[in-house]
Symmetry: C2
Subunit: 203 residues, 2 copies
DNA sequence: GAGGCCGTGTACCAGTTGGTAAGGAGGGCG
DNA sequence: CGCCCTCCTTACCAACTGGTACACGGCCTC
């Protein structure tokens, strides 16, 4: 964003950037295996070998995708938390997650996909997420010590909260299974409901 | 189980059954795309064409996998809930899920995978799960009316609870990311912690 | 023992996959 | 001009994918 204001900062996205963008989109919502370089190339109006020129292999491309998507996600969440303490911090983070879920669901999709694949890739993502995890853990510990939050293992609480938020924000098919259509209006209601759920669970 | 006791009930699993079993395992923990019929055949010590003889195509095999895994899962959960009311019912279901997560993680994996893939398959799984969903919804509504549970939209509550339980029970890589190793001992602790989380969130 | 069905194996195949090799087109620069 | 460097293309390819056609052997029935 802000591309219209700055002068020569983001000068019409170069090919590499365009590829990465589409890669996040594709990998994020179809998964690693289901995306072929040929597909991707066609969508970009470019030959597959162009992709392989910029990123040496599909694996490398995916690694770049992970770093980009997760780095970005982390930055967004940390920015959301910044300046807030206590419950408002949780609210701010959940808001941020939902905003991403609505606008760029694939970005969260990449995280989901990486965790699904496991192995080296999960490890890579784990490293990329370390800052957020550390921050979240610290936050929870602090809130517990202050008596604002139920006393438990912060790590387990973190996993529970993560699963709940990711699930409610991104599991479109599960929502559909219980009869909830993934519309914007519903997303707002879902977020509100989720916050109540979390508030009850945490405090 | 109980194969050693019964007499001619399960007479050395026939090829079709063996294929289905391995398919659940494979699809459940590697995902649809990542499993090739050749792989599967080799693991079974059989030619790929044998698989295609019993199940006409990979798609059909996967459909059979869904029906088997999810039908079975549903039966287990309903059996667990049976006879219990109120909070003990929730505990029983969570116990059952964790038991499956420890013994046959792939069975839950199939559910996850299907929901990830979306489309016709999610629809199929949704149909297969209808009985459990209906029962759970009914249970929640009843508990709310009785005042044993926080008053909210049962559907949203269901999704939240589902996400939380599935996440904590099956998201091995997420657990690892926060430093929790997926051992049996940890699973017990996790389950206990999860129940506290749910109890706080629900009541 | 001849014929038929069931279950499995052999032989193939066309399409797609990720990846290599090599050849421009265009610009900057000596 | 000639040379190189960056970016992208055309032309291939070997491996693997799901799938078809068909032959073989054993068992049952007539």
């Amino acid at each position: 964003m802000a591309a219209t204001v700055k002068i020569a900062d983001v000068p019409a996205p170069d090919t590499r950037t365009r590829i990465l963008g589409k890669a996040i989109e594709a990998f994020g919502d179809r998964g690693y295996d289901a995306v072929s370089l040929d597909d991707l190339a066609e969508q970009l109006g470019v030959r597959k070998q162009t992709i392989l020129y910029h990123f040496g292999s599909k694996k490398e491309l995916f690694e770049a995708t992970i770093d980009s998507a997760i780095g970005d996600l982390g930055a967004t969440l940390i920015a959301a938390a910044k300046g807030n303490t206590g419950w408002p911090a949780v609210e701010a983070v959940v808001h941020a997650v939902f905003r991403i879920a609505v606008r760029q669901p694939a970005r969260l999709g990449v995280l989901r996909e990486v965790m699904r694949l496991g192995g080296e890739w999960s490890a890579r993502a784990t490293v990329a997420m370390e800052p957020i995890i550390a921050r979240a853990r610290l936050f929870l510990s602090l809130e517990m010590r202050r008596g604002h939050m139920r006393q438990t293992d912060p790590n387990l609480l973190l996993v529970s909260a993560y699963s709940t938020v990711m699930g409610v924000a991104t599991e479109v098919e599960v929502l559909r299974a219980v009869g909830i259509e993934p519309t914007l209006r519903e997303a707002v209601r879902r977020r509100r409901e989720l916050l109540k759920f979390l508030e009850a669970a945490l405090r």
